[in-house]
């Protein structure tokens, strides 16, 4: 069976762990528990006719990209950049992390997830910022670990991209 390592990247408290728990266990807790180090989980998905084991590396969020430990990215086939749509600065941190990730493991598939989409009234990320990134061919999804919106789609979309890249 194909195994693909996916890293969850983003600054602290953007919902990386919640997204993984929603995807793997279909549960959500509103209480914030910071992650230290890295927790690895897995889930098997089907892409086309192939079963793919996704190894999900839930990496601790740091306040700055400089604190990020690059060794966690080793062997990653793709990553999900996560930003909190209600905290604009988390998008900038995600962009910085993307640069760092690309420097470390090269060009691999990734998606940008604007999480906490259920908090629409507190949304801070403007559509023009999103459009600017989409013009760079970034795939951006609005997700909510709380409601499940876009979560399954995000992981599956990344899995498809990774399998496609392997087939190239």
């Amino acid at each position: 069976m194909i195994q693909k390592k996916i890293c969850m990247l983003g600054t602290f408290a953007v919902g990386k762990t919640s997204l993984v728990r929603r995807f793997v266990e279909s549960i959500y807790s509103g209480k914030y528990h910071t992650t230290v180090g890295v927790k690895v989980d897995k889930k098997v998905v089907t892409v086309g006719s192939e079963d793919v084991t996704l190894l999900l590396w839930d990496i601790e969020g740091t306040e700055t990209e400089h604190e990020f430990r690059k060794s966690y990215l080793r062997g990653a086939s793709g990553y999900l950049l996560v930003a909190d749509g209600t905290r604009k600065d988390t998008l900038y941190r995600a962009l910085a992390l993307q640069t760092r990730a690309e420097e470390t493991i090269g060009t691999v598939p990734f998606l940008l997830l604007l999480n906490k989409a259920d908090l629409a009234e507190d949304w801070q990320i403007e559509s023009r910022e999103q459009e600017a990134l989409e013009q760079k061919n970034w795939t951006i999804l609005n997700t909510s670990a709380k409601t499940g919106q876009g979560v399954e789609e995000a992981f599956l979309a990344l899995a498809e991209k990774m399998v496609e890249k392997k087939d190239d």
Binding site: K5, Y32, T34, D41, L55, G75, A76
Partner: protein, 286 residues
Amino acid sequence: MTDLPAPIREFIDTLTDDLLAPAFLLVNDDGGLAAWGGALESYGVSGLKEGMQVADEFIFLAGVLPVDAGGVFMPNVQTRDEIYADIYFFNRPQGTWILFLDATENVKKRQALQQRTYDVSLHAGELEQEGKALYDANSMLEQRVREQTAELSQTVVRLQQELAESKKAYRALRVSEARFRGLYECNFIGVAFWDGEGIITDANDAFLHFIGYTRDDLARGLIQINVINPMTSWPEPDPEQTIDTRPRRPNERDFVCKDGSRTALLFSSSPYEGAPAKNVGFAVRR
């Protein structure tokens, strides 16, 4: 290697065993397991067989092998529930060594500290947002106050202009009143006011003198315009009719005095402006 006496080296080894629960895997160049040992079971690593592909068996090792000459260090990796390890990968002639050192206590301490730090940071962010919202609300309020103040200033200017115009009109009215009073009080122009029924309600002394009535007659309503001037046809007041406030052309009329004698007076009359049932007349003796 530091030159330490054997007892110290032994003590350090014991301390390391107690505190860090070291364990290792040795992996061949093809990724197959060559050797293992130490407290591996405490990290959830079990069921090992020589030649097995560890990277496939243990998800936290996936993708890491093979490692570069400089080695790889991955701190605080959760190997099973609530157990964390610092994992070192380094190459030696025998193959790639993977060393596990327990980091659980360190993670717990750091987790508590980091949780507090991030909670404070998030709270500070929320406060900053609230502060920004308050600042925006205050700015909007200031803008509204500025707009309303400007509107109020314009209103004040307009009122001042209206007041100035009112004062000017009032002064003109006072001048007009003074002129009329002078006319009313002079002894050679008779002035009389009568209502819709023709009863003279007011007259100056000159008018009363012309027709021989007294002020007492006037007060008792005994003087009627159609009695003292019967030759003139006085129209009935019609409220619906458009008021013609133009003064009638002065002409000579015979007036009947109280004693029945007649006197010729040059007379002109006009309704008050806006009041068809009230008239004023001016008379001069020829």
